[in-house]
Amino acid sequence: MKYLLLIHQNPAAFQALPEEERQALMNEAGVICNELIESGEWVGGEALTDPSTARTVRVRGGVPAVTDGPFGESKEQLAGYLVVECENTERAVEIAARWPDARHWAMEVRPIMDQGGVEM
């Protein structure tokens, strides 16, 4: 099963952390990435730039309207994502629980829809 792990973060709070602490969080994340590559569960993942750099695009009546800033308006914003392939949801949750952002903000675990299926 593949899972998308969404890293939710409060960008203002993250930037307000002391430099060493931010670095420590990123190093911690790096260690987990390496472990996932090692275990064969890693599929992909990236960090995102600050939400202020986002563009939200809506097309209404065939006309695209582009606004600056992210789609969601909450303080917590998407800061990055991982795609992992693991045996079950419990394992995906276990990975999310170790991710440092989960201690400060939140990680969201979403199963990825399979294009294939089996008859019942």
Binding site: G44, M113, G116, G117, E119
Partner: protein
């Protein structure tokens, strides 16, 4: 000139068959599973390019061993040069831990012993299932990294990384190119069979269009399981797994409709099922059940055989299936088995009996939120003549589904009930 497409297909079949033999020969000669496996991949790629155009050489296995050996030696030379070391005989001498017990073992002709030994190595219990599966399909199955990546729908670089890390991990465990010792044999074989079953299941998910590559995995799994069965003909679980795969695969032509939609077992056109695969599967499982110690793959195959032998859904021998599920639940209990057991129970003793059995799964967190539980409950409510509840649970199952075709099927069922 033969049709290049057909010739290409034959070359590919031949290469997959030879892949484990060539790798086995290389590992015996040079004692390097990791680098040897890369060298064999390169030789297979070279053959896949050259043979369809230039023709298959007289001794294809010898050709591959020669080419792979050259690549391996080049690589080892390159490495030792980088380390500013001279190439010494020692570099190429077999590393102790990899030497096969029998001297001169590499002079043996093409033998299938290597396939099983390689499977034990690739399905090393230290590896995660995802790594075991990927490495097995490449190193033993002879698929290229690109093909493995496409089949499992992950980026090629990710798959390459997964495979190389898996090999490093095996190297780090100090595993030898030998079958496991007798006291570990049964457990290790169980892992190998589980990996083959995972490969099969990955390929059995029905889909149209974009992931046809995935369907190839069932063919690979059956081919590899056949090799294991040839080597261990008396093992009932190996025979059972092969039978289960054949009996399941036999239904493939009947399980989807013209638009790729899933057709439930009870409604499949059984004339479309693959008769020769059914015959082979039934023969295998009948032989295993009468001779070997009973195991979960044999029981699942026996259940599949009862379905396969029914001329129609209505003709199915449900009391027999129920008895088999009761046995399976005793020797290998798991919530998916209970789920299927509930369906069989409903068919024999009525929907209410099945629904009662399902109730115990609500407190089992392994399956409580699974769409299959809601789907079976919906089906049994439909059987019980309670369309409102059925519709509600089909809807719930559709929302929880993690498979697009299954979700579409569940929505159709809900709609048929006016949902």
């Amino acid at each position: 000139m033969s049709d290049p497409v057909i010739a290409g297909g034959r070359v590919e079949d031949l290469l997959r068959e030879l892949a484990p033999q060539v790798l086995g020969a290389l590992v015996r000669r040079y004692g390097q599973f990791d680098a040897g496996e890369d060298a064999v991949q390169e030789a297979l790629l070279a053959a896949a390019q050259q043979w369809p155009e230039e023709g298959v050489p007289g001794n294809p296995r010898g050709w591959l061993i020669t080419v792979a050996s050259r690549r391996l030696i080049d690589q080892l030379r390159g490495e030792s040069a980088r380390r500013r070391r001279e190439l010494t005989v020692a570099t190429l001498a077999p590393a102790d831990e990899f030497v096969a017990t029998a001297p001169g073992a590499d002079e043996q002709p093409a033998d299938q012993d290597d396939t099983l030994t390689l499977l034990f190595l690739c399905c090393h219990p230290e590896l995660s299932p995802a790594s075991q599966v990927a490495l097995t399909v490449r190193a033993v199955g002879g698929l290229t990294t690109a093909q493995v990546a496409r089949a499992f729908m992950v980026p090629e670089t990710t798959m390459g990384q997964r495979i190389s890390r898996a090999k490093q991990r095996i190297k780090a465990t100090g595993s030898s190119f030998r079958p496991p010792p007798p006291e570990e044999w049964a457990d290790r074989l169980r892992v190998v069979l589980h990996v083959l079953y995972l490969i099969f299941n990955e390929g059995y998910t029905a889909s149209s269009g974009p992931d046809l590559h995935r369907a190839e995995l069932t063919v690979e799994a059956i081919r590899l399981t056949r090799v294991v069965h040839r080597q261990l003909p008396a093992d009932g679980e190996v025979a059972g797994l092969l039978a289960l795969m054949l009996l399941t695969e036999a239904r493939r032509p009947g399980r989807t409709g013209p638009a790729g939609e899933l057709i439930p077992l009870a409604e499949q056109d059984r004339a479309l099922w693959n008769r020769s695969a059914i015959d082979e599967g039934v023969e295998l499982i009948s032989g295993a059940l009468s001779a070997a110690q009973l195991g979960p793959y044999q029981l699942q195959a026996a259940i599949a055989a009862v379905h396969a032998e029914a001329v129609s859904g209505a003709d199915t021998d449900w009391p027999q299936i129920l008895a088999l599920y009761q046995l399976l639940e005793r020797i290998a209990p798991n919530p998916m088995v209970t789920l299927n057991h509930a369906v069989a129970l409903a068919m024999v003793r009525g929907a209410r009996a099945g629904l009662d059995l399902l109730a115990q799964l609500d407190s089992d967190e392994r399956i409580a939120d699974h769409h299959r539980l809601a789907a079976v409950r919906a089906h049994l409510f439909e059987m019980a003549g309670e369309p409102e509840s059925a519709r509600e649970f089909y809807g719930l199952a559709a929302r929880r589904a993690n498979s697009l075709p299954e979700q579409a099927y569940l929505r159709r069922r809900a709609k048929l009930l006016g949902g």
